[in-house]
């Protein structure tokens, strides 16, 4: 009885995930161990060559570049998002709701359109350059578009809401009592933050950072549009292998590596969150 109800309730969700996530991932993993067909496609001959090729300095640099860009994006999101989330968590419920809606509002419009909007803002004739020139601060337009700066701006803007939401849910669980107890025991505001607030919001930091990092690493639209295609990131590399080079097995191998790295990050984050929530027990009260 209980079992059948469980199957009825969870079945559609599980079927969805299996059909559209697990099976495609396994197909990708499978393809990555075969040889490339002469006219594209796949020759079903087992090889590890694709993985050996991914370690080539040319491609390793792409991994490193992507990790750098995603890492900087994550760091900026964290530094900007933490104070914002902290502020929102201290507000009364009505203002809190309003602010959270504002944070999520950009997610309701299309990512591509928002990225084009940044192109309009950042280009040589764009809003920012024209204002700066108009104000007499610069003579020639600043190169704001088609570089790493633009990519990082775009990614930070796009994924900041995930960071703020993850941090907010962690910070808002922390009542004022613990901070007051720390103050009462003689700690300054900074010490209270360093020794109480920060360690106890580590799960939120981990969750938000993994969200932003994972989403940034796999993104190929922003590097293409804001980076002008000059900077190849992992998403672009995979995209190119499938659609331009028509080397499905190699594309699959890179995709499999990315999925593996992401799973490792998510697992690490889940462990942090789990250990914390077990330790904290009733801290959320």
């Amino acid at each position: 009885m209980v079992l059948s109800r469980r199957i009825v309730l969870t079945g559609p969700g599980i079927a969805w995930i299996v059909a559209l996530l697990v099976i495609p991932c396994l197909l990708i993993l499978g393809n990555s161990f075969f040889e490339r067909g002469v006219y594209g496609g796949i020759d079903y001959i087992f090889t590890l060559e694709n993985y050996a090729r991914a370690a080539d300095p040319l491609y390793a640099a792409v991994f490193w570049n992507s990790a750098q860009v995603a890492g900087i994006t994550t760091l900026i999101s964290l530094l900007v998002g933490y104070p914002a989330a902290y502020c929102i968590a201290q507000m009364n419920p009505r203002r809190q709701l309003a602010c959270l809606i504002l944070v999520m509002l950009p997610l309701w419009s299309n990512y591509l359109i928002r990225t084009y909007a940044w192109m309009v803002m950042l280009n040589n004739e764009g809003l920012i350059n024209r204002v700066l020139i108009g104000a007499g601060l610069i003579d020639a337009p600043l190169p704001l578009l088609y570089n790493d700066f633009a990519i990082i701006i775009g990614l930070t803007y796009g994924y900041m809401p995930f960071m703020i939401l993850a941090l907010f849910s962690s910070i808002s669980k922390l009542g004022p009592d613990l901070r007051e107890a720390s103050t009462d025991l003689g700690a300054s505001a900074f010490t209270t933050f360093r020794r109480v607030t920060l360690p106890l919001t580590l799960p939120g930091i981990a969750a938000g950072s993994v969200f932003v990092f994972v989403l940034s690493v796999g993104n190929f639209v922003t590097p293409d549009l804001l980076g002008g295609g000059k900077r190849t990131m992992l998403g672009n590399l995979i995209y190119d292998q499938f659609l331009t080079a028509r080397d499905w097995p190699f594309g699959s191998a890179i995709a499999a590596i990315v999925v593996f790295i992401m799973m490792a990050l998510l697992t690490a984050q889940a462990i942090i969150v789990n250990r914390r929530s077990r330790e904290d027990g009733e801290a959320g009260q």
């Binding site: 107890a181 103050t183 003689g186 700690a187 109480v196 330790e279 027990g281």
Partner: protein, 353 residues
Amino acid sequence: MSALLEVAGVSKSFGPVKAVDNIDLTIGANEFFALLGPSGCGKTTLLRMIAGFEMPDQGRIILAGQDITGVKANKRPINLMFQSYALFPHMTVAGNVAYGLEMEGMRGAELDRRVAEALDLVQLSPLAKRKPAQLSGGQKQRVALARALVKRPQLLLLDEPLGALDKKLREQMQIELKRLQQETGIAFLVVTHDQEEALTMADRIALLKAGRVAQLDAPRALYERPSSRFVADFIGQMNFLAGEVTAAGLEIPGLGCFGAVNLADHAIGTRAELAIRPERVELLDGAVSGAIAAHVSGLAYLGQDLILHLSIAGRAQPLVARVPAANPLSTRLRQGLDLWCRWPAEHSLVLSE
């Protein structure tokens, strides 16, 4: 008794609500003081102002002769035991206790010694390495206590210290807190809504009502000589009989004229109430002069005591009496029994609003 803490004309409003209204208090060194009152009476706000978490709108808070009204919470030699205990969940028991000393810059062997001492004091040494989530409610409370006491504050504030504990543990901790207070010589200021807690532990109690001190007295005086109907009603149980003050006593329509200890405090001709504690009501087999005929309309057995509701002809409210179960009369008491009751004038009070 030398004054340790002086609260002078302190007021605090939240919007239109006057939470604390011009309160004056003096707490002596080495005193166990209780702020008692129903929820919303301002006791927690007053406590938070003494701790430094709220600024008074008016008035001054003086500790050991120094005005600390403007001193920040982390700079006051006062510690607070939170109602929720507020233990740091990511630190061990020892880490929680050490925290406050580390803020003073203490390190190494002396820190370890002081932490061990504090844990010893609350009998928690074997649990030093545990995390708060692995402790029972009573153990958490002891950690919170050790964490506050280890800093050797001049004054320890305790916000509803026993509220979260079950009855047995509560009674045990009442005695324990009293012992700790005497052993450490630190002045304790307890905030509670539980009159029994205040009565058993405190040297003096300030009963608050709507942001003001309704009465400030020793427990016995508060119980036996309440100064108003509010105090009499809040502390323990009380029978009230309305009447008019005369030269001979309080004239209660239909019952007669009754003497009381504080009759002289009231002007003749004013309306007032006679207040009698249930345990002061005597039950009699037969009519004697001054006794009132009554009818047992309700009876509850409490183990060591019996609670009786006595209906008296012409009165809507029954008189409540409390007799020891060991009383020879009590075995014959049952619902529906007719008997007589009276009360001594030396245990009766006349109270007005």
